[in-house]
Subunit: 205 residues, 3 copies
């Protein structure tokens, strides 16, 4: 006993005490186990719905608002934020690569003729001045080394921004699948909401 | 001992060991207990403020933006998301059932005469063309089986979407309580913010 | 034994049992310890990114939208919510104190001449009627005891709302630092996104 260590117990007594200790510890821990499991289950459930994700609903087809939407989207994805953009109504113009007239109703043909042919033909929300606004903007943007709108859209696609075209709005605006750029996904309001509810940033532009 | 089970301990010794075990287990668990309680308290506090709730501030009175706002709202509530819509400035038109002039100041009467009489009379944000835009939109929406704007507003109410009219904006726009549909709640910016801070989706339309 | 308390154990036996109990309890708790630590670490990590913070991106320079943005911002800060406002494109007018022309390119001078000189000179998004809209709005707002736009901007600054001017948009709109009010911060899309990702309320106005 010079080292202060007690001598070993009789093995039979040891086994009996071990069993008793384990049973009592298990009983005491049972409640904790449930609490800890609950805490972890809640945490895992919470972490799913709130990742670093941004959801941008693009309603507007104005040149300046589209520039703003794509600068936010490409900036976010560059910061490691997953970005989902949902294009509805006038915003669909950002996804257009061409305008077709075949197989459209009279109303759809009228809408197609009046809507801009694609993102390069959009007007500004203010000071459009029969198209002078966008021209001046593009000049000053080039002087300031800001990417063009078609360039920003291409960049967004290359960086993995999810581009979703609203099926309902495509119907209302008379826009067909073959008029949109490749790589676009199609969805409805549930698709949008599924992304938005998981996003920390939700914008309507 | 043929079954490997140790014989029962002396009852007095058993009682003594049990007391000792319990005391030591309790001491060891005391720290854990506090940690688990803290974790659960934090989780419960967190879960309050971030339910599956969406808050839509409707500033615009444009036909196409209102359509978009109510499609999002009704879609969300159908997915089990609680939805609160707060109507301010031009957006108040969505809640109008009639226009009255009695008891209004000159400015209020002028504003009332110039504002649309209700959601069925709103114009589009683009291509309104003296009212042709909404007519064409309504035709194409009907062809695409999209609900009308008054129909969507009624549906939102039936589904339990909370509709709140901004008191301050009602004052500024000269709109009286009797001009709004039944079932509308009234509130100020604090009402809006109270809902928005608890929402995962916050939109300004 | 009249009080039911068992007599003390032999000290050597007690020490042996204590060591055994502690070892077994520690082994049983080892797994819990890791779980509880994980839960608390996750909670602490979660609480950082989601404070009560609101992020308002002000894109529009319309009088009525600016009024709405600043009423939300000042209301939020009064409720204990940290507010960050990021001004881009037309929204920059809210931060202007004067217009200068010296040292600007032709395009910048043209833009400066056409943009409102400051928040007091902004028009409404609807019913502007060559400036009659804002005048009527201001009269009715005064009758309803609503603060003026310059008053709301001053109040926001006094209440500690963070006002950030978008450097890129300043370049595109030809706006120089000396044209903006004091106390404004300058930043880019990463500044905006850094605030927005930590915010429970994110609006694009």
């Amino acid at each position: 006993m010079s080292d202060g260590t007690p001598p070993p117990l009789d093995p039979t007594l040891t086994a009996m005490i071990e069993r008793m200790v384990d049973a009592r510890v298990d009983a005491r821990l049972a409640g904790f186990s449930a609490q800890v499991e609950e805490a972890l289950a809640r945490l895992r459930a919470q972490e799913g719905p709130q990742r670093d994700q941004a959801s941008i609903l693009v309603f507007s087809g104005d040149f300046d608002r589209l520039i703003s939407a794509f600068i936010i989207a490409t900036g976010a994805v560059a910061m490691g934020i997953e970005v989902s953009m949902y294009f509805t109504f006038w915003g669909l113009v950002a996804l257009k690569k061409q305008t077709t007239f075949a197989g459209k109703t009279i109303e759809e043909k009228m809408l197609s003729a009046m809507l801009p042919g694609g993102p390069a033909n959009t007007g500004t929300s203010k000071m459009n001045m029969l198209g002078m606004g966008p021209i001046m903007f593009k000049r000053v943007m080039a002087q300031n080394n800001v990417e063009t709108l078609p360039g920003l859209i291409k960049l967004a696609q290359d960086l993995g921004v999810k581009l979703i075209a609203c099926r309902m709005a495509m119907g209302v605006m008379g826009i067909k699948d073959e008029e949109l750029i490749d790589g676009v996904q199609y969805g409805g309001v549930a698709t949008y909401l599924g992304d938005a509810i998981e996003s920390k940033i939700t914008l309507f532009i």
